[in-house]
Structures are given as C-alpha cells and as structure tokens.
C-alpha cells in the first residue's frame, strides 16, 4: 500500500468520521489505523521473551516476528467460528480432583537422587544466586 493511497484512505476515514461527529483524529493516528500492521511488533516479541524468561538474539527476534505473522494469521481463522454467547469451555468429562494436603516423606535414596540432579548443590540444599 503506497503512501499516496494511505493518505487517500486516511482522509476518507476523516471525512466519514466527521460525518459521524467524532472528534477529528490526528494524522498520525489515521495512518496507524489504516496501515496494515504486522500481527506482532519486535517490541511485543521482546516483551513475550521477557515474560518467558528466554534471551533472544537480534536475528532470533527478526525471524520470530516474521514466523509469528503467518502463525497468527492462521489461528485468527477462529474469529469466524460461530461461538454462542454463553459458551463455557470445558475439557471433556474430566474435572478437578484433589487429594489430602499431607506431607509424604520419601526414602533417603530418592532424596539423594533428586538432590543429585541439582546443578548447584550445597549439602542438603539446592543453591541459587541471591534474589534480593
């Protein structure tokens, strides 16, 4: 979509919006509204990676943004589904089951096996860097 067309569409948007007596938006926001955005921005992706606690290189970010586009466009098909207003999702006949909240001890051998897997073990503790 060339700049010229964007401006045309933008001014048309403004014309219609004035007819509806909506406050005239800024030129910048018109462009934003009418320009076809990628489904996810690099900044949004960085935020996701931050939430997921995964470091990404710059190349990673660029290629993920591209791939996300195609995946998100694909899953957006769901918008067409005719979901009834009061729909409540459920997963089959399976529902929550609880057990007694009691401490169960394990054998010393099992305990050793678990502690042995810790990347940084100090005696009977798993060591981590300080948080505060």
């Amino acid at each position: 979509m060339s700049i010229g067309v964007k401006v045309f569409v933008g001014t048309t948007c403004v014309k219609h919006m004035s007819k509806l007596r909506i406050r005239k938006p800024s030129l910048e926001s018109i462009f934003v509204a009418c320009y076809t955005l990628p489904m996810i921005t690099k900044l949004e992706l960085e935020n996701l990676a931050n939430l997921a606690r995964i470091k990404l290189t710059d190349e990673d970010k660029d290629s993920f943004v591209k791939e996300f586009d195609s995946v998100l466009t694909y899953i957006d098909q769901l918008k067409k589904a005719d979901v009834p207003m009061d729909a409540e999702g459920r997963v089959g006949a399976v529902r929550n089951i609880t057990r007694l909240d009691e401490v169960k001890s394990i054998s010393l051998d099992d305990r050793e096996r678990l502690l042995d897997e810790a990347p940084h073990r100090v005696g009977d503790f798993i060591a981590v860097k300080k948080i505060l």
Binding site: I40, E44, L45, L48, A49, L51, A52, R53, I54, K55, L56, D60, F64, E67, F68, S70, V71, L72, Y74, I75, D76, Q77, L78, K79, A81, V83, P84, A87, E88, G89, R90, V91, G92, A93, V94, N96, I97, T98, R99, D110, R113, L114, D116, E117, A118, P119, H120, I126, V128, K129, K130, I131
Partner: protein
C-alpha cells in the same frame, strides 16, 4: 534357532519363549544386533541400554519359574520423554542432556512388573514438538522405507525402531498426532488411547489436556496387549480414568460397527491423490466385510488446527517454565539469579520449542486471553459436541492419518505452517480426548521407493475395543 524378526508378534514370541524355542536373552540379542547394523544410519535410538541383556536374563528366570506373563522378555523401545529411573531422559533436548530420571514413570513401572526389556531410549522432536523428528537436538531419524525421508514425529524414533526391526514394540507419546503420524509414515500400527486411559505420571508434560502415552507395534494385537498392560487409574495422575468413567458403549445396533466419513473435510487439494485412493479402497474393503459406511458432517472440524495451535502452545508455555536450570538440567550462568533463567533457556531450548513457548505466552497474555485462549476452549467444546453427535449414528470415524506419505528431510522444517498442516487429521482426537488408531492401508510408489500410508479410525471415549476389532479385521489378524 534364527528368529524371524520381520513377522514376530508378542503372542508368537511369548509362546516361543515358553516352549523354549529361544530365550529372552537370544531375543534381545537379535534386536541389539539389528540396532548395531542399522541405527547409525536411521538414528532411531539416542542410547542403547547396556543393561538390556541383564533384564532379559531376569525374564528368562521368570519363564523357568513358570511366572512369565505376556510381556515378559518382550523388547521395547522407549521414547526419550518417558522416565526410567537411573537412565538419562533428555526429551531430545540439550537442556536435559545429562538429566538422570530419579523415578520410574507409571507406564514403566507396569512394564517392569511384567519383566519387559527396555532396549534403549528413542529419538523424538525436542520436547515432543514437531511432526518429523527433525527438531531433535541430536539429529533427525530417517524413515527405514526411504532414508532420504522423515520417520514422522514427534515419536519418530519409536516408530522407526519397530519398522527397522530394532524393537518388537515401542512406546511413544501423542499430543496432536505424534504416535499416529509416524506410525502412518513408517507402515506400522500406532494407538492414541482415550485421554486419561494411560497415566502421564513420569512422562514429560507437553500439553497436559492433550497428551497420552501409547504403543507402537506391527499388529493391532500387539498394541492391544500393551494398552491393556499400561492402562489404569493412577493415584499419581488425577486425570486418569477407569472402565466406569465412560458409560457402556451405546451400540448403534448393527451387527458390525458403522463407519462414518466426514467427506466434506476430505475434498481439499492439500491431500495426496494416492492417499485418497488408498483411503477409498480401505473403506471398500470394510464394506465388503459387512461394515456400513455413512457420510457424516462435523461442521466445526475446520477449526481444529487453529484451536490446537492456540491451546497446545498455551499449555506448553506453562509446562516448559520448569526448565530453568535451578533444580535439574542444564544451568548457564547469567549476571544474576533471574538472568540465569534467560541464559539457561536460551542455550538449552531449541528453536521450535522457543517458538511455541512465545506463541503460548502471547495467547495467554492480558488483552489476548479472551480472544484466543477462551475462544479456543469454547470451540474445542463445539468440536467435541460435533463428534459426540456423529457417534449417535456411527461407531467409528475414518479419515486418512496424514495428508501425504513421508516427506523429504528438510522439506518442511523451515515453514512452520506447512509442518503444522500435517496434523490436520490427527489433532481432533487430542482435542476431543477420543481414542484413535492408525493402521497401514497401502503404499505409494515414489522414486521407486515404497512409502507407507495410514488409515485412521477414531472411536467414542473409552471404546478402544471397537478400534481393535475393526483394526484386526482390516489387517487380517482375525
């Protein structure tokens, strides 16, 4: 006596060992020999267990004492995401390269109790994410029918191990088709049980509302024997069911099961014509055997892939958060405690895994949760209701297992959507929780190689029995 691995079944092997035709040790040695010959090329196994012979020796003692059961001495390949105490379980990832399982999965406990032999851990897509086993951090698994092609995924190693006669049977896991699709590509039988039928305790979680463990075998009978051995309610897995969970099967009332086909969904030109021809031929042979074939409509089935690719990454993003380098697995140092996570996960997790974690984080994040995750759950219910309605007039639903035979290595790995579309027929069984079986139904000749094609049958919740009956009849086992 030389053991014919090509035609061996569990029943045959059991009776032969009972009679003394060969010992469990000889049987295990025969498979270890095949693995030694073929695994370098096929890469079905990431590790062959040094103590397989010892387990076989113990099995022979059981035969001598007269206490052997059906699975005693039977050699298994075990997918790398199933925990066997003391053995490495890496889910084909670098982040668990040196992780030793501290306990047995429930399915392993059950097989150990019978004296089954574990030959080794089989290759897979990393953390079960993929449809080709090309996402393994330890190389892809080749299809024994054509080594320039994939074995399928994510349980490609388990399927290839059986197909190459490197195991009599194997265990895999299925979240969106990861047992059935490789079974189809490798020309063997694969079962995804009803959700909850088999305990997931001790199996690395991918999509907790979708995952099931299941068997691979050359015959439906072998899969049935293994299913009966590994199924059951488990106190360690609150989602497990027993035979009382799903009420007595409401038979449609005909002498033989009625098979429904959702033709409206099978018309696309994304489906290989040879697959469609073999599918129709399979239906014709069912008809000849007295099965009625009916057209059914599943109005919301076209939404199953989008539903799956929202719900599965959402659950993945949650399940993968435990791999942080604190209590187990790879640890890479960062500037501080939190930075440790960023570095560890960056170094240890592969591209597809990270892609799905990010996608899941996205669909669960505030502002998108309603539009994606909640919506997908609602549509999941609609799809399940479609299937339940169809099962009012049919007993089985048939489709091809995959839209094509095995594709070439490297063909789809750089196009996520192309890879995801391979799951088109298999994800519904995970979305609905219904059991589904893939059985070989013919071959496609491509570049003078013979590529297997699979037929998929889906049954009502809890009705594996009808799958087994129809499957055995189709393959001429009864």
């Amino acid at each position: 006596m030389p053991i014919n691995l090509k035609t061996l079944t569990i029943q045959f092997a059991h009776e032969a060992m009972k009679r003394g035709d060969f010992t469990a040790v000889q049987l295990t040695e025969a498979y270890l020999g095949e693995i030694a010959n073929k695994n370098k090329e096929i890469n079905a196994y990431l590790e062959v267990f040094a103590d397989a012979i010892d387990t076989a020796k113990a099995a022979d003692l059981k035969f001598k004492a007269g206490t052997a059961t059906m699975l005693t001495g039977i050699p298994f390949g075990i997918k790398d995401n199933i925990l066997i105490q003391g053995k490495v379980a890496s889910a084909a990832s670098k982040i668990l390269e040196k992780y030793h399982a501290p306990y047995d999965a429930t399915v392993i406990e059950k097989l150990k109790a019978e004296g089954a032999v574990f030959l080794g851990r089989t290759n897979m897509d990393e953390f079960a994410m993929g449809g080709s086993t090309e996402n393994s951090a330890y190389g892809s698994t080749k299809n024994p029918h054509d080594v320039s092609r994939v074995a399928g995924g994510s349980s490609g190693g388990s399927a290839a191990a059986v197909a190459m006669n490197g195991a009599l049977v194997s265990l895999g896991s299925d979240t969106g088709g990861s047992i059935r699709q490789p079974a189809s590509f490798c020309g063997i039988v694969g079962l995804k049980p009803t959700y909850g039928a088999v305990s997931r305790y001790g199996v690395m979680a991918m999509g907790s509302s979708l995952d099931q463990i299941g068997p691979f075998g050359k015959t439906v009978g072998d899969c049935e024997i293994i299913f009966n051995a590994i199924k059951g309610k488990d106190v360690h897995d609150g989602t497990t069911i027993d035979s009382s969970t799903y009420p007595i099967i409401n038979q449609v009332g005909k002498k033989k099961p009625v098979i429904g086909v959702p033709w409206h969904f099978l018309g696309g030109d994304g489906i290989d014509p040879v697959v469609m021809n073999l599918f129709k031929a399979a239906l014709a042979s069912f008809e000849k055997a007295g099965y009625e074939i009916k057209e059914i409509k599943l109005p919301n089935i076209s939404y199953s892939l989008p539903v799956y690719y929202i719900l599965m990454p959402a659950e993945v993003s949650s399940n993968m958060s435990r791999y942080d380098g604190v209590k187990f697995g790879l640890h890479v140092d960062g500037k501080n405690g939190i930075d440790d996570y960023f570095e560890t996960r960056h170094s240890g997790l592969g591209r597809e895994v990270i892609r799905r974690i990010l996608l899941g984080t996205y669909v669960l994040s505030s502002g998108y949760y309603d539009a994606y995750y909640n919506r997908a759950n609602a549509v999941r219910k609609m799809i399940t209701d479609d299937f339940l309605k169809a099962f009012g007039s049919v007993d089985l639903i048939a489709t091809p297992t995959a839209p094509s035979p095995a594709f070439k290595i490297g063909e789809k790995v750089s196009d996520p959507i192309a890879m995801y579309l391979e799951d088109i027929f298999t994800v519904t069984a995970n979305i609905t929780g219904m059991p589904a079986l893939s059985i070989p139904c013919g071959i496609s000749k491509v570049d003078d190689k013979e590529l297997p094609i699979g037929l998929q049958l889906t049954a009502r919740h809890g009705d594996e029995k009808t799958l087994f009956t129809a499957g055995k009849e189709f393959l001429g086992e009864i």
